[in-house]
């Protein structure tokens, strides 16, 4: 049913630290690696080794340059995947009931056997979190690795989304954002976590931690006067050589 649950018991989601992300794209690779062989249809590629490669990804890392009024420009790497919104517009537009938001943990999923591939949910998502698989003709999206996080066959430390498990910088955190005492909620409170496009009214569960203020490197005073050149004219043997060559 494409009606949204009145309230989710838990709000599982990600906290992404824009201060820490180094833009290595390891999360992109881990996501594709896990999800192409797990839940639902594979994440296909078209012309992967040819001149015009493209493919389905559930997680993509953008990079932005931010130019403050004064000071040097900053580069911010920006991973983006489904934000598992509380008011998910992608769910309510679905004509078939393939898209749904789970009441028990707030995860937004697609039942691929009911998806007609109309693409309206991708139009309704402001974040570009949904991609139609060109080979399968069904909509693919982040499942928050629903087949990992509850999977008793995996060691406990692996029961987190693949992107979180793989991030070498520790820039991705997984937890219950509906519980104010959870690690992720306290992290969001401490670091001023923010919604993306709050004016779209989607109430995203995933939170982004803004970059911390940078050092003002370009505004540093020079600590000592610059040294004068030690010698203007070479002396000794080199001086003789220099003069001799000059005369040639």
């Amino acid at each position: 049913m494409t009606s949204l649950p009145a309230s989710a018991e838990r709000k599982l989601g990600l906290v992404i630290d824009l201060d820490t992300c180094v833009g290595c794209h390891a999360c992109v690779v881990a996501c594709k690696g896990w999800n192409t062989e797990a839940y639902g249809a594979p994440l296909s590629d078209q012309d992967p080794y040819g001149a015009d490669p493209s493919g389905t990804f559930l997680n993509r890392v953008h990079s932005y340059e931010v130019q403050p009024e004064d000071g040097a420009a900053q580069l911010v790497h920006f991973p983006k995947s489904c934000l598992h919104c509380e008011d998910a517009p992608c769910v309510t537009v679905c004509p078939t009931g393939a898209s749904y938001k789970r009441a028990e943990d707030g995860i937004v999923l697609v039942d691929e056997s009911a998806c007609i591939g109309c693409g309206l949910c991708a139009w309704a998502c402001p974040y570009g979190a949904r991609e139609m698989d060109a080979a399968e003709g069904v909509m693919k999206k982040c499942t928050l690795c629903v087949d990992r996080i509850y999977n008793d066959n995996l060691p406990e430390q692996d029961r987190v989304p693949a992107c979180v498990r793989t991030c070498p910088a520790g820039a991705r955190h997984f937890g219950d954002l509906g519980d104010p005492e959870s690690d992720v909620s306290r992290l969001v409170a401490a670091r001023g976590g923010m919604d993306l496009m709050p004016e779209q009214g989607t109430r995203p569960v995933n939170q982004y931690l803004p970059p911390r203020p940078r050092d003002q490197l370009d505004q540093m005073e020079e600590s000592a006067p610059r040294l004068d050149p030690v010698i203007e004219e070479p002396g000794g043997f080199l001086g003789w050589l220099d003069r001799a060559l000059e005369k040639l």
Partner: protein
Amino acid sequence: MHPAPSVIAFTTLSGIGFGLLAWLGLGLPPVTGGSAFAFFTIAYLLAAGGLVASTFHLGHPERALLAFTQWRTSWLSREAWASVAALLVMAVCGAGAVFFDTRIPALGWIGSALCILTVWATSMIYAQLATVPRWNTPLTPVLFLSLAAAGGALLAGQPDFALVLLPLSGVVQVIWWVRGDRALADSGTDMASATGLGGTGRVRAFEPPHTGPNYLMREMVFRIGRKHALKLRTLALLLGYVLPCLLLLIPFSHVFAALAVGSHLGGVAASRWLFFAEAEHVVGLYYGKN
């Protein structure tokens, strides 16, 4: 947005087809017998043909029946119900008029109402999307409904109504364009709100996620075709509204009437191309576009 030919054909043809059916339901013109057969055939070819065209862009058309299940929340599902109901009710009206020389006015009115409901539901699929500020306005249903009414009047051979409705829908079209041109800027969504980095400084897209394009860019960051937007708008206004009116003002002949309909359809198709090609989806902001 990507202007998919199937969706442009669907909204253009089914819009005017349901418009014609609505007029026929009202008994304008009060046709029976052979001429009723001609009118209803044209209307069904346009309306149902448009619906069939719309399934061409589906990834899994064989599951299309599932689209009837979610009418509580989905405008696409409501459109499916309204269109089938309208086509069924009007089929009864049409059969009565063609085979029994009988018109059932009450049923005709219900059929007309269902036709209007169908066009409204179609327009709401676009108007509901906050992600496309150009579409996200009550003016979008007004545009679709006025166009269906005007085109339907033209096809139904109602020059008096057409001469009022065509200029009216032309005015709505121009207002829709003027409002649309500043819709994204007025929406408050920009790269600063998309990235949340606006507080630090001016945000510029430095690197896209991949060197190649992807589904999102092909489907929603479509920018080709905007270059000739002004020329296409002029063409849409001339073909869609001005020329049909002029052709209606000269003494009636079937050739001129057919020309007026063809010209109108061409103009509406041009306008519908722009409806998609000019529409900016906010996801484009993540790619530094729009």
